[in-house]
């Protein structure tokens, strides 16, 4: 590998209000290198990359990029067009593709004149195919993007960047939406592309893939670069410590015998608007003292499963019982009263009313309870003391219980929801992506609470796209694919990964 410098970020700083997102961050990238940018949520990874790409204007600092001739030149800041011209391509976590156009049109659009799009189609196509051959990235060019799988869409995004002569490719959490196998393929392709002279920065918080596929690692914490090393010298424990700033006690899981069935689903089918939110003939059981992990790639029916157990949607056929009570057609309130605790996937959208106070959000599921109302009027003192008590017990930190819930950070919002759910002593807990987007400390707290509830006799259904998460917590693992749920006996990563991709076990 040549050690020719291709990009250098010099003391970049960015402040949002009182929050310092980046504080004098230096970062160099060399030709043909894969640099992993590691850090917890809110560490400033995405802010840094957005400054590189011109979405944000740094408060101070500068960026130099090597031109075609290899001479470093300053980059005009705050202009995405300048970044594009300098050969910087970015693939965001949420794709920016037009679903009603073909993959080829998506790649060409924006960089070619409309006229040449039609006239020189064959030539342009040949160029795209050349890029595909060199990089190993394949995508069905004539298919509408709306019909492509997530992995294929991601490849189209990368091809789009390569077609624009990107020499530096930034990937924001590229594996979040992929199966383990798809992720491996992606990294193989990245390997081929870097041999071709491409330099890659990828943002991640998954240590395993960072150690396996990067050549160098930079760690951000609270907006400051706290460490940088060659991957060959890196040690997993040391990096984790760098990210968090301290050793976190890992939740340890004892094996305990499951109790009586808490949740029984029999032949549950639910037809959604698309295949992504459909359940087909799902039968499963969750016992007391048991965490059942639902592994699967996003968009395989997890949302339908969660909606059915939250009371938000009702199955077309089949039955659901909780502790023997039929809740097949139960509304959310009936689910709550059947002792089902629900931790929703999208905590901002479904988990809380941001414009209402922390205290109000803590009692919102229990308005019927005489503890908090009498004859239709709120008992404000009881609501306030309840909120004070829960805030303390669950360490919900923020401007106070009367403050609007939207002022809390993501981790504290999740703690608020945990407090609300666990306080009601649920018999069944539905935890849908409970640690997504949380920093390590808050995530660990969530895991600890789930294990505690399990030990206390509750049944837990844990839906997660992170296999490591499931392997770490679940007593039993089910795989969901295309709306079907299958039990598996193995705890072997690659075996589960294959099933997540729809291969028979």
């Amino acid at each position: 590998m040549t050690q020719q410098k291709i990009l250098s970020l010099n003391r970049l700083s960015k402040q949002f209000g009182t929050v310092v997102a980046n504080d004098a961050v230096d970062l160099d990238l060399h030709k043909g290198e894969v640099l992993a940018l590691l850090g917890e949520n809110g560490a400033g990874k995405t802010t840094l990359m957005n400054m590189l790409f011109g979405h944000y204007l740094p408060d101070s600092g500068s960026i130099d990029v090597a031109g075609e001739d290899g001479v470093m030149q300053p980059l005009a800041l705050g202009h995405p067009q300048a970044a594009l011209r300098a050969g910087i391509g970015m693939v965001h976590q949420h794709f920016t593709l037009a679903e009603n156009l073909s993959a080829l049109d998506n790649i060409l659009l924006g960089s070619e004149k409309l006229k040449s799009l039609r006239r020189d189609r064959a030539r342009l196509r040949a160029r795209v195919e050349g890029i595909m051959a060199r990089s190993g990235l394949t995508a069905p060019l004539d298919e509408l993007v709306g019909k492509l799988s997530v992995g294929e869409r991601q490849r189209v995004e990368i091809l789009k960047a390569l077609f624009r002569d990107a020499r530096i490719l930034v990937l924001d959490e590229p594996t979040a939406v992929l199966t383990p196998q798809e992720a491996d393929t992606l990294f193989e392709n990245i390997g081929m592309m870097t041999k071709d002279g491409l330099s890659v920065i990828f943002i991640s918080h998954k240590l395993r893939e960072v150690l396996a596929f990067s050549s160098r690692i930079a760690v951000l914490r609270h907006g400051v670069k706290v460490g940088e090393m060659a991957t060959s010298d890196a040690d997993q424990k040391a990096i984790a410590r760098m990210m968090v700033g301290a050793d976190t006690p890992e939740a340890s899981r004892e094996i305990i015998a499951p109790g009586a069935p808490v949740l029984k689903m029999k032949g549950v089918s639910l037809k959604g608007q698309s295949d992504r939110d459909t359940l087909t003939d799902v039968s499963l059981t969750v016992h007391a003292n048991e965490i059942v992990g639902i592994a699967g790639v996003s968009g395989n029916g997890q949302s339908a499963l969660a909606a059915a157990l939250s009371g938000m949607r009702h199955p077309d056929s089949g039955t659901i019982t909780v502790e023997g009570v039929d809740v097949t057609r139960a509304e959310p309130l009936a689910m709550i009263r059947a002792h089902v605790g629900r931790i929703p996937e999208d905590r901002h959208h479904d988990g809380m009313v941001g414009a209402m106070s922390v205290a109000e959000n803590m009692v919102i599921e229990r308005l019927w309870d005489d503890e908090f109302q009498s004859r239709g009027f709120l008992k404000n003192e009881a609501i306030a003391s309840h909120a004070e008590r829960l805030s303390k017990a669950y360490d919900v930190r923020g401007p106070g219980i009367e403050a609007k819930a939207q002022l809390l950070s993501g981790g504290n919002i999740q703690k608020l929801i945990l407090a609300r759910v666990f306080e009601q002593n649920p018999r069944l807990i539905l935890a849908n992506q409970p640690v997504r987007g949380l920093d390590m400390g808050a995530a660990e707290e969530v895991r600890r609470r789930l294990l505690e509830a399990r030990d206390g006799g509750a049944g837990v259904m844990l839906i997660s796209e992170d296999l490591d998460e499931i392997l770490g917590l679940a007593d039993r693992i089910l795989v969901i694919h295309s709306g079907e749920v299958h039990e598996i006996m193995t705890r072997d990563r690659s075996q589960i990964g294959l099933m997540m991709a729809g291969e028979p076990a």
Partner: protein, 358 residues
């Protein structure tokens, strides 16, 4: 480079300051058309102030004018808090007025203590029924209530005109399309002798206090606020969203119906098709200017009523068109909408960092 960034939390000063500032700016902007009309600004505003505060009578006129606006303002406030866009207060007002004359003009010859509550009850129920239709269409079939409530206004107004030419027409009216007068004992009592202020004002103020209390302290108000702020989360938390919407729809319609009752049984005595100069629509401005606070509605209704009464007296004294009042009212709505934007976002400008574009 200029950027728009959301504020962390709009301050208390902002939530109070924006409506007040909007009202002031609207009044200042009204100078422009006044200048075009060739009026002396200072005298014009002096005339306006005199029309409002000049005498006890003029101030009671403001109170009279504010009464229906408090009702329609509350109707909009409660519905809007649940994000139920009831634009149909005008129609519901006429339904309430029509119900009042239907039962109050001789159908039941009851003593006042019975007839008055009967008129009020029927009027409120008619207004509620008028809002029930769009609410059912929305909760059952997802029909956009902005469209249905707005269009119902025109249907109801035409229905009123038909009734005034038919079943409700006063045989003694010499051909005018107006209803028979409400029986004397059914009329809401006057509050101050030789003025037009009537007991409708008391009912309106009571309604505002009750609405404020219910919103803040009742489970019903809690649910309504939750539904309005985030319906998905409210549903997930076990709140019956459609039930909440239905209940607030009925109450909103009833309040608008009461505006009609109070105009007919408190002021005019009989129903004509020009009973309301757009009180239903102005109620929306009242509610927005009040920041959707029931107590604030009382204040903003008084302000808007003053503008109308003041502009009337100014136009009489100076020969300037009283349409100026409508102008001030609509401009204050625009100002409060723009002001609301600035309360939620701030504009920051940063100097672009210069670098040689490669």
């Amino acid at each position: 480079m200029i950027r728009i960034e959301p504020r962390v939390a709009p301050g208390r000063l902002m939530t109070l300051g924006v409506p007040v500032l909007s009202a002031v700016i609207a009044l200042v902007l009204a100078c422009i058309p006044l200048l075009f009309a060739g009026a002396n600004i200072a005298t014009a505003y002096a005339e306006m102030a005199r029309g409002v505060f000049g005498s006890v009578f003029s101030f009671t006129e403001v109170l009279t004018r504010a009464t229906p606006l408090i009702f329609t303002g509350l109707a909009a406030t409660l519905a809007f808090r649940a994000k139920l866009w009831n634009i149909g207060a005008e129609g519901q007002l006429y339904l309430g007025a029509m119900a009042a004359v239907a039962v109050g003009t001789g159908l039941f010859d009851l003593p006042g203590v019975l007839l008055m509550p009967l008129i009020i009850g029927f009027g409120a129920a008619a207004g509620a029924a008028g809002m029930a239709v769009p609410a059912v269409l929305k909760t059952r079939f997802g029909a956009d209530e902005v469209v249905t409530t707005l269009l119902l206004n025109f249907i109801i107004l035409i229905f009123v005109q038909m009734m005034l030419e038919g079943a409700l027409k006063d045989p003694m009216s010499l051909g005018w399309p107006q209803s028979s007068p409400i029986l004397d004992q059914g009329m809401l009592p006057q509050l101050i002798p030789r003025t037009r202020v009537h007991a409708g004002l008391i009912i309106a103020l009571l309604a505002a206090v009750v609405a404020q209390f219910m919103l803040a302290r009742s489970v019903w108000g809690f649910r309504l606020r939750a539904v309005g702020e985030n319906a998905a989360a409210a549903r997930h938390a076990g709140i019956g969203v459609n039930r909440s919407l239905m209940s607030v729809a009925l109450i909103s319609g009833a309040l608008a119906g009461l505006a009609g009752v109070s105009e007919v049984a408190g002021l005019k005595g009989y129903l004509t098709a020009d009973l309301s100069p757009g009180f239903g629509y102005t109620g929306i401005v009242v509610a927005m200017l009040a920041g959707l606070s029931p107590i604030g509605v009382v204040v903003s209704a008084l302000f808007i009523a003053s503008v109308f009464v003041g502009a009337d007296s100014m136009s009489r004294a100076m020969g300037v068109s009283s349409y100026l009042a409508d102008l001030v009212v609509s401009m204050s709505l625009l100002c409060v909408l723009i002001g609301g934007f600035f309360a939620r976002y701030r504009i920051t400008s940063t100097k672009p960092v210069q670098g040689a574009a490669s």
